[in-house]
Every structure is written in C-alpha cells, then in structure tokens.
C-alpha cells in the first residue's frame, strides 16, 4: 500500500473543488485546495505537493500560466501536473502536454478516470 500523497487541487469552481477533494480523500490521499493560479503557486511553495490537478480555464492566471511558472522554478518544475479541461480545449491541452503536463482529465469529472490518472502519475516524475 502506498503512503498517502499530498495532492493540490486547483480550480476556481467551488463545486469542482469539493468533488475532487472528496475523491482524493476516498483514494486515501491528502488534498490541498487552491481557487486560483496565484494561490496555487503560493500553496506549492508551502506544501510541495506530490501531484497537482490543475484546471485550465481560470480567470486572471489560467492553468497554462501556472504550468509555465512551475517550469521556471526548479523545485516546482518536477511536480507532476494533470490538467483538467473542458471537452473543446484540445489546443490548450496539447500546449500543456508540450509544456510537460503528465496527463489530463476532461470535465465532467469521472471518478474512475481520476483514480486511474492519479495512481498512474503519483511519483512518476519524482
């Protein structure tokens, strides 16, 4: 059995955050929440999570910006990131994958997909 991992959930939508929070707890991991890009970056510096679930579409600073920012910092650049996208965001998802995101989840969030992605990518990029 894996030891619990710290997983940062970044989403501006409260309902999404709540859903992902519950899913992560169910999977036996420790969720940390952020409702915006800047908050996510600040939280990363504090918690240094094992994995980040990152929404693409957010006001001010979107998921792509957060990812770029993470890449510019050595420590944050090593944390695996799974993007959360809408169905019609192929372009942006492709951009994120090119920037090093390890995977993506399409909304609406599917329990099985989250479980599979989280377990596949935990510790993969360490």
């Amino acid at each position: 059995m894996r030891t619990p991992a710290t997983i940062l959930i970044v989403d501006d939508n409260a309902a999404h955050r709540k859903l992902l929070h519950e899913l992560i707890v169910m999977l036996g991991h420790t969720p940390v929440l952020a409702n915006s890009g800047p908050e996510a970056l600040a939280s990363m510096q504090n918690h240094l999570p094992d994995l980040v679930l990152l929404d693409i579409e957010m006001p001010q600073m979107d998921g792509l910006d957060v990812l770029e920012h993470m890449n510019s910092e050595q420590l944050l650049g090593r944390i695996p990131v799974i993007m959360i996208s809408a169905v019609d965001e192929t372009d942006t998802v492709v951009e994120c994958i090119k920037l090093g995101a390890v995977g993506y989840l399409v909304k609406p969030i599917d329990h099985a997909a989250v479980k599979e992605k989280v377990e596949t990518h935990l510790g993969k990029k360490s």
Partner: protein, 347 residues
C-alpha cells in the same frame, strides 16, 4: 520565410491527399505523397522530407505506429510531424503529442490554420537545426580550448583548473629536471634577422618536443633559448634521470644536424620540486625549488655534445651510460659539488 520545403503527405484517402497537395503547392512547397504507413516509411528513407503531414486513422499501419517508428529512429526523429485527425479526438491527439508529434490538424482542413501550422513547424525546424549546428560548433570550440589548455598545462592540472578554477601547488619527490641552453645565443641574435632566428628556434623546438614526448618528459617552459623539462611529474617513472639523460643525448645528436650551427648545453639533476600554476588569465605552469636551481647550474657547467649531471643523478644512470666525473666544481650558492659528464648510452 522558408520556401520550397519538401512536405510528405501520408493519408489513405485520395481526396484528402489531393486537397493537401494543392494547398502545399499553392504555398510554394513541394508535396510528396504516400497512401499508407509502409509507403510513408520507405518514402522517408529515400528522401528525407522537411515536414510530414500524417493521418492518424489508416488501415494496416496507422499514424501512431508510423510516428512511433519515426521517433525511435535517430535519423528521422527530428523531422516535424503534424498529425491529421478526422475528429477532435483529444485522447488520440494528446497521445501523438506525447509520442513526439509537433502539432495536429482536424479535417476538414481550414486553409488558414493549415498554412499557419505548416509555416510554424518549418520555422521551428529551421531554428532547431540551427541550434543543433551552433551546439556542434560550440562543442568543437570547447574541445579546441580544452586542447589548448591541455597544451599549456599537464592533464591533471588542466582538469583541476577547469573544475575548481585554480590549481593547488604540489610538492613532488624524485623529479628529474632537464635544463638546456644554446651556447652563444645572444651574439647569434644580434647577427641574424628575426626571421632566421625564429625559423631556427622553431626547428630546435620541434626536436625538443619530439624527443620529450618520446622519453615521457613534460616540457615546463621555454624562455628564449632556454628549455626546461621534467620527468616523473605527470606520471611516476621507474628511473626519471635515465629518461632525461637519454633525451639529453638525443637532443645533442639532433642539434648537430641543424644548419644553424648551434650548440647546446644540457644539465640534469634529481630531487623534490614544487609544481604549480601562476596567473589567473594567462597561465604559466612552472616548477620551483633547489632541484631546479641545481639543474640550471649543471647546465651552465655543461659542454656541447654531452649531458652534465649531478652526482645524485649520476648514481641513477651510471650503469646505463658512459661518462666520467669532472671532479668538484664550485656551484653558485651551493659550494662545491661533484659533477659528471654523460657521453653516450651503453648497450
């Protein structure tokens, strides 16, 4: 703007190929076509395209497999590939990007988007090719400067300098020092042109370098007509004095063949020395200590055609060469010292 690129179209659908062909021609590029994965791979081996437009869904060998094979092959892995997808299928597209595709296009083709993506991919390819070329050039220059550093400094000193930015001076025991000097060099300089002088110095320096290499002597420096070399510094030698005396006698023989009519004196001594590097911008590798001074005195007491060695050095080579004691000689700063002339090697 890059023009006239060769663009390979891989699509099993004839009308798609036709549309892409026309678009590529109207853009000033040359289209190449393949109707399936196998044909594409053999076409690529024949003629490397600058860009590949690759359909994902094809019978037998699909776009994924073609892409995987290309990315696995070093020769072709740098060719940019734009995937063609019939629907906005995020999973397939992301998978292709993960394998290494540069970009993707969705059918039916949007002319503007297609042009933009082709132009973009080609520009990136040109940039990365250039970067590769620069990197190769940089590597070459780095190698050149390293060779230069190694030419000035012994290997381990060069490594130390490169790694730590400085070289610690070190004491070494049992180092044989060879000193050489041209007899009557100052009057020679005055009566000959600088060109003649340099040409002859170059010739004598060639002899020194060849003979030093042959006998594993490390050239320490050459100041004007004076050459200094050390044996046993770079790596331990069984009998460093023997290496110096052999080299010294060969140098004497080599100098005799020179048209300049030069004669040289050579002195050899053995003992402890301190080796180090002086300077921060221009490096001078040098050895210091009494052993060096005595070797220099041996040289000034020497005679053309032979090698003058100290008693301590003679002890190490007496069994290998003919020579004899010249008795006690006044050595500046040292008092009386016995010196030997080595004439030739025996056996």
């Amino acid at each position: 703007m890059s023009t006239g690129a060769n663009i390979l179209i891989v699509d099993d659908n004839e009308s798609n190929r036709k549309v892409l062909q026309d678009l590529i021609i109207s853009n000033g590029h040359t289209p190449l076509v393949a109707e399936n994965g196998y044909a594409a791979l053999s076409r690529i081996r024949q003629q490397q395209p600058d860009l590949i437009l690759l359909d994902i869904t094809m019978p037998e060998m699909d776009g994924f497999e073609v892409l995987e094979r290309l990315k696995a092959d070093k020769t072709f892995s740098t060719i940019p590939v734009i995937m063609i997808s019939s629907i906005d299928d995020m999973a397939s597209i992301v998978r292709c990007i993960e394998i290494g595709a540069e970009d993707y296009l969705i059918k039916p083709f949007n002319r503007t988007l297609l042009n933009a993506r082709i132009g973009n991919s080609l520009a990136k390819k040109t940039a990365s090719d250039q970067e590769l070329k620069f990197r190769e050039q940089l590597e070459k220059e780095k190698e050149l400067s390293e060779n230069l550093l190694h030419a000035i400094l012994p290997h381990k000193f060069a490594e130390e300098l490169r790694t730590f930015g400085e070289v610690r001076p070190r004491r070494h025991e049992n180092i044989a020092i060879l000193m050489s000097d041209i007899v009557g060099f100052t009057p020679y300089c005055e009566s000959h042109t600088p060109e003649e002088l340099f040409s002859n110095l170059q010739k004598i320096s060639d002899h020194f370098e060849t003979i030093f290499d042959k006998h594993q002597l490390e050239k320490i420096n050459a100041v004007g007509d004076a050459f200094m070399a050390a044996a046993g510094l770079e790596k331990p030698l069984r009998n460093p004095v023997l290496n110096c005396v052999q080299a010294g006698l060969e140098l004497q023989a080599a100098v005799k063949t020179m048209s300049s009519g030069w004669q040289i004196r050579i002195g050899v001594h053995i003992g402890p020395i301190i080796a180090g590097v002086i300077g921060r911008k221009k490096f001078l590798y040098t050895v210091l200590g009494d052993t060096v001074n005595i070797a220099s005195r041996m040289e000034s007491n020497g005679k053309p055609g032979l090698v003058c060695v100290s008693a301590a050095a003679w002890e190490k080579v007496a069994d290998f060469c003919n020579g004899e004691s010249q008795g006690m000689v006044a050595v500046k700063g040292k008092g009386e010292m016995e010196i030997y002339y080595a004439y030739e090697m025996t056996g």
